[in-house]
């Protein structure tokens, strides 16, 4: 087995992307993502790859579009404000059916926000990653190992379905070091063939077109519907989640990424206190792992969602649960990371049958009783 090394999440993701065959990186520096770009700047020239610091995020994502159209595995990375700038290009990639990896190491927003860990770009990633009728696949790693592993998964799924893929990390995962076993480098001939890529027809085949402009409405509709079929397939086949102690759980915490680590600590503490707690950790955020949640609905009495935002993923949980069980919410946002004890307290309340939306306000816990729909 390969050696375990201690690496930052940002660097592990970068190295894993290279090992997955990525030889093209276009980006623009921003905290807390910078180590990823810096790693690429060091490594790419040594392995015959391209590292290019573009003049802006907008330029970088359009370079990704171009490289992807030429058939190579390509990526960019940024943090929240930078991702907003890339949105136009991401939408064009969706419209042109171009794969490509976009990494968002989230920081607090809106606006320039802050630089501490945040999960406030969930809606952007899963609902509005760009204009138009489209999606990207979204992975949410929760460990440095997963930061590395998700790079390969992102390129595989992107190429398989011809969709852009986002890895939605955060400052905590990007900056922290953990032991990681890096994947074996992929052989050049193991990369999938891309007959649609713009590589020159050399007079031997019909020319191919990569384009997102369809001025005839019926043609645009059919291209969207064809893509929608792929989205359906993705939604059916590519949901990923980890379930931890959910089989006998009365109260289940749903959390992803760094928040899931806090939640996991809280669940372990709750079990020590005799509370039957469990954790569902979405690994894909789009497609949302509905099946994992649905599987617990018969046995769980209540759900608690915790994330580093004022409540975004909680809406997906409520869509799945659909009023059948109470769903409570607890969070910090803006770069403040909740402690396991705070989540434990929320978990305890949920276990006692309370239904609430708690957002700590100026140091005090304000509790809003919420009427459940349905």
């Amino acid at each position: 087995m390969a050696e375990k090394v201690l690496m930052k999440g940002n660097e592990a993701l970068a190295e894993a992307a290279i090992r997955a065959g990525c030889r093209h990186f276009f980006g623009y520096p921003i905290t807390p993502q910078t180590e990823l770009a810096a790693y690429m700047a060091k490594r790419m020239p040594k392995i015959g790859g391209v590292y290019l610091q573009a003049e802006s995020e907008v330029a970088a994502i359009n370079m990704v579009y171009g490289a992807s159209a030429a058939g190579v595995r390509v990526m960019t990375s940024s943090s929240s404000p930078g991702i907003s700038l890339k949105q136009e290009g991401i939408s064009y990639m969706i419209g042109a059916d171009l794969p490509g990896l976009i990494v968002n190491v989230q920081r607090g927003g809106p606006g320039l926000g802050g630089i501490q860990p945040s999960q406030a770009d969930y809606w952007q990633a899963t609902r509005a990653v760009g204009h138009g009728d489209g999606h990207v696949v979204v992975f949410a790693p929760s460990t440095v190992q997963e930061m590395a592993d998700s790079a390969a998964s992102a390129f595989e799924l992107g190429d398989k379905y011809r969709v852009p893929v986002m890895i939605l990390a955060d400052g905590l995962l990007g900056q922290m070091m953990e032991p990681v076993i890096l994947p074996e480098p992929l052989a050049d001939d193991a990369l999938p063939k891309k007959p649609w890529a713009l590589t020159g027809h050399k007079g031997e085949r019909e020319h191919t077109v990569v384009n997102s402009l369809f001025l005839v409405a019926a043609e645009l509709e059919s291209s969207i519907l064809e893509r929608a079929e792929r989205y359906q397939q993705i939604s059916r086949d590519e949901q990923r989640a980890e379930s931890f102690l959910t089989e006998d759980a009365d109260v289940i915490v749903v959390a992803y990424g760094a928040a899931s680590r806090i939640a996991r600590s809280a669940v372990v503490k709750a079990r020590e206190q005799g509370i039957k707690a469990g954790l569902i950790r979405p690994i894909t955020l789009w497609p949302y792992p509905k099946d994992a949640l649905e599987a617990t609905l018969a046995s769980a009495k209540a759900y608690l969602v915790t994330e580093f935002s004022t409540g975004q993923m909680v809406e997906d949980v409520r869509l799945v649960v659909n009023g059948r069980k109470p769903v409570s919410f607890f969070a910090h946002t803006g770069g403040v990371v909740p402690t396991p004890d705070e989540v434990l307290e929320a978990l305890r309340l949920a276990n006692e049958g309370e239904v609430f939306d708690i957002i700590p306000f100026q140091g005090k816990l304000t509790r809003k009783k919420e009427v459940q729909n349905g």
Binding site: K4, L6, T31, P32, I115, Q116, G171, L172, Q175, M176, M177, E178, P179, R261, I262, A263, R264, S265, A266, V268, V337, T339, P340, D341
Partner: protein, 183 residues
């Protein structure tokens, strides 16, 4: 099975807080334990306090952010004051007494005061007060062994500074051997 140990290291930027944490984390890795290392990052690192959370455990690590440290290494007064109340009762604090000076002490935790910065200078190890503190923490908690920590130093010192490995190992030994002022 060793106890899980959550460690907070804190000091000024430039004192090698993050590097000291890396040695501890690498020791945990070599010991085949679960480890995490999380730095404070951003403007806080320039001029203010730099700090670093390290967790060692035999179970997968949940929150990598240490809010209730079992052990604290404090390398200046502001860091000491910021984190001392968070240390769990019965916990351990290693204080660089050359930098912290007079401070209010708690009676429910174990203090290991080491004049690490002075010791480093006296021994021609300027800049290695951080590793002296790691040596003291090693002796105080037994989070790993000296041999493993030396391997961890080999792993943590970048290739471009390989000549500093021996100095780091000596600093570790000096910290371990310093026993004069346990209180």
């Amino acid at each position: 099975m060793a106890q899980p140990l959550n460690i907070m290291l804190a000091g000024f930027g430039g004192q090698g807080i993050l590097f000291a944490g890396k040695i501890i984390a690498y020791a945990g890795l070599i010991d085949e334990r679960e480890v995490s290392w999380l730095p404070s990052y951003g403007p806080e690192m320039r001029g203010g306090t730099a700090n670093c959370s390290v967790c060692l455990s035999d179970e997968p690590i949940g929150s990598p952010l240490v809010t209730e440290p079992d052990a604290l290494i404090a390398m200046n007064l502001p860091s000491y004051e910021r984190f001392i109340d968070d240390v769990v009762p019965g916990g351990v604090v290693v204080v660089d007494s050359s930098m912290v000076g007079a401070c209010t002490m708690r009676h429910d935790i174990e203090y290991y005061t080491v004049p690490a910065t002075s010791l480093a200078e006296e021994n021609g190890l300027k800049g290695l007060a951080n590793v002296i503190c790691v040596g003291k923490l090693l002796e105080a908690t037994g989070f790993s062994t000296e041999e493993v920590c030396k391997q961890a130093i080999d792993k943590s010192v970048p290739a471009s500074k390989a000549q500093l490995k021996d100095a780091n190992k000596r600093a570790l030994e000096i910290g371990e051997a310093w026993t004069a002022s346990v209180c």
